[in-house]
Every structure is written in C-alpha cells, then in structure tokens.
Amino acid sequence: MNTTPARPETLDARTREQIDLALSQYQSQPGPLLQVLHAVQNRIGYIPDAAIPIIASALNLSRADVHGVVTFYHYFRRQPPGRHIVRVCQAESCKAMRADELTEHAKAKLRIDFHQTTADGAFTLEPVYCLGNCACSPAVMIDEELYGRVTPERFDELIEEKSAK
C-alpha cells in the first residue's frame, strides 16, 4: 500500500474548480464543513490533501481543524478509490450469517485486503458496520447499491457484473 508521506500535490484546474463549486454550494450554511467534504468527495472521489488548506481558508478554519475532521470519519478517503467501492458488513447480525467467511472469500476473490484497491483499479474493499439490512444478512454494498443474502457465489456474480461495465 501507499506508505510514502503524502507529497503536497498540485491540483489540476478541473479539480480545483470542483472544490470551489462544492464550497460555493454550502459555504453560507451553518456548520458547513461536513457537507463541503461530502460534496468534494462526491465530485472527485476523495479528499486530496491539497484541498485541505483551500477548504480551511474558505471556511475560516485552521488546517488542523479540517484535517481533524477528515481523519475522524471513516467515510472520508484521502486516496483515490477504485472504480467501485465494495463494502462488506462486519457487524453482529451478518456475523451470525457467516459474514466472516464471506469476508475471507471477498478478500481472496479480489486478492486484496480491506482498504486496498485491486491492481486494475476496479475495486476498493472496505469493511462497514451494519447497512440496515440485517434481516437479509449477510449484506454487501457496492457503490450505492445494497445486496442481501449474499453467498460467496452471489458475490462472484456481482463482481463479474461490475467488472463487465
């Protein structure tokens, strides 16, 4: 995995524009930082380190404040993800329906561990703690689509379907 300290990237013009759009959308709201971060991540897939000072100065916060918020929440990512984000539920109800086996299967199938991206850039694998689909455990979410009663075979089909796209 990427262990080199994040170098101060320079943002290309398009990315910069997306960040400005996210800011202008929410800047005037009370307590807007989370909304701005969501908007940035929706637009460019992650929150680049170089975006932090821009967001901080626009919202009148310190860089440490913004950095602190980005790192507090599991949902915000600081590296670009794969084309699809696969989240496998790790919580109790899914565990009662063999989620641990499904997790091992998913890691073997994609040949990556949690928080990693496949070499072809197609999939990023993430743990998640309950998707609210506990009566149809085990549950998986791929991007914004929810799946229930996921067997290892079903998991493979889903990955194949997404790979084809």
């Binding site: 807007p32 930082l33 909304q35 929440y73 109800s93 009662a96 506990c134 009566a135």
Partner: protein, 513 residues
C-alpha cells in the same frame, strides 16, 4: 379495471432483487397487453418473503413471495392479477400470521402506501396529528406527549415529554429539532424502513415537535450508509414544502418550520446525541460533557430536542388519537408499541411492531420460526452492539425496558439478533472490544486504550496463554471501562463481553489449536 400491483422499493427488498422483479412484471404485462398500475411501496417488514409482490383485489391485497424475475411469467399464467393460487402465494397479506398479530401504530402505513405520494399519505390519516396540534397550545401538545408515556426509542428510553418540556421552558432566539437517524446498531433497521416507507410521518412528527417547543428549524442527521432513505426523504421534504406543509406559514397557520437532511460520515459514535450535535456543526464527533443538556444548550449552543426517528414518528398518532389511546398499549412503565427487529440467524426475519410485553421466546419461535439454519438458537443479542448476550435459559424474559434491565440486558433500539449453536462467543466478545476500539471518539482513556487492551487480552485467552490471569484482567478492565467512560460506547461495551463470559464460559476454555 386496471389492477394495481405493488413491488417494494425499500432498500432491503431491492437488495434481494425487487428492481428486476418490478421490471419483469411491467414487461410481461406489456407483452400480454394487460395494463397494470405498478406502485413502488415500502416493505411490509416480512423480510424473509422479499421481494414480496402484492396485488390489489376486491377482497384485499394478495401476497406472493419471495418472487424472482424468473417467476413472473408463471405468476401471470396462474392469474395472480386476480389473486389466484400459485406456489408463492400466501393469501391475503393482512392474514399472514406474522403481520396479523402485530399492532401497527407507527408502521401502520409502511408497505401499504406509495411513500412519496402526499395524496396517499393524506388518504391514510396523514397530517391528522398536525391539524390537531395546530389547534392546541404548545403546553397542551407537550402534555399530550408526556401523558402518552412515550419514551425515547433510540436507546436511552428517556420520557419524550419531559425532554420537550425542558426545551419549551427555555427562552432563546432559536431552538432546534434534531432527529437522530444515525441508526448504527447492528440488528436494527426500523428507522430506515420508516424513512423509506412513510417519510411524511417523520416530517409530520418533527413539525409537531417544532410547534410544541417553539423551534422553527429541524435537521435529520442521517447515516451515510442509507442512500435510499436519503433520496426518499429529500423527495418527501420537497413535496411538503411545495404543498405548504413545511416552510413559512404552515397550512396558513402563520407558523414556520424548516427542515433539512444532513449526512453523517460513517462514525458509530455520532449516534450518541452530543457527538451527533458536534457532527451537525461540522466538527469531529467528540462526545460533550454533560451538563449542559442538549435541551438547554444543544445545536449551535441553542435549546435542542434530540429524538430518534421512531420517537418522532410516534407523535402524529399520539396527537391524532390522544394520549390515552397510546398509553393503553404496553405494560408497566413501557407504554405504547415497540417495533422489534428480528435479524441474524432467523428463519423469518423482519419488523414486528407490538405493544410491549412479548417474550423473547415468543418472538424468536412463534413469529421468527427458529433459526434460519435449523439448528438451536444458542444466544441472542438484544439492543445492538452494546447490548448483552442472552442465553436460551432467559428466553422467557419479556421484551420491555424494566424486565430486560432486571437481567442485566437492555432493549435499546429494539434490535434482536439470533445466533445458532455454531457461534463462538469468545470471538463475539473479542469483536465487541474491537468495535469499541474502532469507533471510540478518543476522549476517555478506558474506552480508547482499554478497548485495544481488551482485544489483546481476549486474544491471549483464546490462545490459552495465562488464561486464568487474563480472564481476571479482562473482568477488571470491564469494570474500569464501565466506571471511567463518559458515554455508553466505553461504558457499555463491557455488557456483551461480560455476558458472554458469564453465560458461555465454555467458549473461553477451548484448547487452543
């Protein structure tokens, strides 16, 4: 006459193929030249039958499930549009025992109506509660909620009326209603089902709360894991604004209530109310020291009602039918109904709303039908990841706040997760500590460091390294966490751990491989 066919759009139904089924039904109807009206409802909560297709007939709605796209031609062939029999036919939906035995007050419309149709909502008693509230004084509204006996359904079970009274009593330039839709507990999905199946009911409940305490602005703090609920809520809120049920001058009353959804970002601790308020302010979700209570100094330092989705969604019914009606359901100090959510290794999983008082055994066996695997149910975790594990010998405990607390357990948000006899309780205890370590907000040492230490100790116990000494240490650690934590995450993580140790000691004594 054109027949109406219902295919749920609830996320759980979609997760098992409802979208494909809906498309297949539309295509098959088209192919046969039989016009139908396809309605995308919420789920009835009979989740083992999803995708559950319903057909409206003169004698009621007939249920078919679980339907796959491949079953669709044979359903048409059999005459399902007339409610004919078929291997997937379950008769009239309302007669299915799991549903028939429920007492649905809060979930009365869920699965019945088109969730984003205001017309449907109004045709099914919608906004009757708000109309009553608009004729009442704030103190009367608060008194009605207080007298109903409603206690918070988010976990702490605090009387909702008392909380509202405190906010009403504050003089402040701005007050807020903050709805807790973070629903982080494993085994729970009632909030999601309600928001996706009957979003106007939550909007109505929050509007009534605003009138009651003098708050003109509301937020729904929704977990990021719920994109479907997000879309449904946004659509319903836009409609409510357009039709004069939100915004300035609600129904010509001169009263204002503005409402918006704000997304969380995958932190379990943000379900704790003060952490949620920090998060709503755009900050790290660090738990606040109390006092001051959120009711006195909450969001942006102003008096704030923080209530769970189900608590707020229970309010319209209470206003419509009166405190006495609601209070007539339930037992002891647990009044009204509770939506229990049956999950995990269970044959018939789903949402079961009923007056308090049902025992765990009745729920698991009479309605749940036993385990999905067919093996004995060995342990049940009630009330989410901070709830105790309950052994079979205690399955006769009634599911109410007092009875559960008497056996050292809790009802929480009403999640019930069943495990069969293949479960390894030492692993589940380890997971509880691991979860706490991953989700700690970091403010208190016993929670932040203690939980990591707990994982290590349990690893050693499982590996049979100095087992007796480490068992002793884990108990001491649990005590430290219970007494030295600011909030329930650190303070209650010991419950699943200690209950596993107490009721399933053999799982901690296995010879290491």
């Amino acid at each position: 006459m054109i027949t109406t066919v219902y295919v749920p759009q609830d996320a759980a139904a979609l997760s098992v193929g409802a979208e494909r089924v809906a498309r297949a039904i539309a295509a098959e109807a088209e192919r046969r030249g039989t016009p139908i009206r396809l309605v995308r409802n919420g789920t009835r909560g009979l989740l083992w039958l999803e995708p559950l297709v319903e057909v409206a007939t003169p004698n009621g709605r007939h249920a078919y499930g679980p339907v796959t796209a491949r079953d669709v031609p044979s359903l048409f062939e059999a005459g399902f549009l007339q409610g004919a029999s078929h291997p997937l036919h379950h008769g009239l939906t309302e007669e299915i025992p799991f549903l028939k035995n429920q007492q649905r007050l809060t979930f009365a419309r869920v699965g019945v109506i088109d969730p984003t149709s205001l017309t449907d909502y109004l045709a099914h008693d919608g906004y009757a509660g708000l109309r009553r509230a608009l004729e009442m004084q704030p103190t009367e509204i608060v008194k009605t909620v207080l007298d109903s006996g409603l206690r918070g359904r988010g976990g702490a079970a605090f009387p909702t009326g008392i909380k509202w009274q405190t906010v009403l009593d504050q003089a402040a330039p701005q007050k807020y209603i903050a709805c807790n839709a973070d629903e982080g507990d494993s085994g729970t999905f009632a909030d999601r089902m309600l928001m996706e199946g009957d979003p106007f009911m939550l909007i109505e409940g929050m509007t009534i709360a605003g009138l009651a305490v003098g708050a003109t602005r509301g937020f729904i703090y929704l977990r990021a894991e719920y994109p479907h609920a997000h879309k449904t809520l946004e659509a319903a809120i836009a409609t409510a604004y357009r039709e004069g049920y939100l915004g300035r001058d609600i129904l010509g009353s001169g009263k204002t209530f503005d409402l918006e959804v704000r997304l969380g970002a995958g932190a379990y601790i943000c379900g704790e109310e003060t952490s949620m308020l920090e998060s709503l302010e755009g900050k790290r979700g660090e738990v606040r020291v109390r006092p001051p209570l959120p009711a006195i100094k909450g969001l942006f330092g102003q008096p704030t009602v923080v209530n769970n989705v189900i608590s707020l969604a229970s309010v319209p019914v209470i206003l419509q039918h009166g405190a006495e009606f609601y209070q007539s359901f339930g037992v002891g100090k647990s009044r009204g109904t509770i939506p229990l959510q049956l999950a995990g290794n269970i044959k018939r999983g789903g949402l079961y709303e009923r007056a308090f008082g049902l025992t765990l055994r009745e729920l698991l066996y009479d309605f749940g039908g036993g385990s999905a695997s067919g093996r004995p149910i060995r342990a049940v975790q009630v009330g989410g990841p901070l709830g105790a594990y309950i052994p079979a010998s205690q399955f006769d405990t009634p599911l109410d706040y007092e009875a559960l607390s008497a056996i050292g357990a809790l009802l929480g948000h009403g999640g019930v997760v069943a495990f069969d006899d293949t479960v390894d309780m030492a692993k589940m205890a380890r997971y509880a500590m691991e979860f706490c370590a991953a989700e700690s907000c970091g403010k208190c040492t016993p929670c932040r460091i203690g939980s990591t230490r707990g994982v290590e100790l349990l690893d050693r116990i499982i590996a049979n390294v100095e087992r007796d000494k480490n068992l002793q240490l884990v108990q001491e650690l649990c005590e430290t966490m219970v007494h030295g934590s600011l909030c329930g995450l650190g303070g209650m993580t010991p419950f699943p751990v200690q209950s596993a140790l107490k009721h399933f000691p053999e799982d901690f004594m296995r010879t290491a491989q």
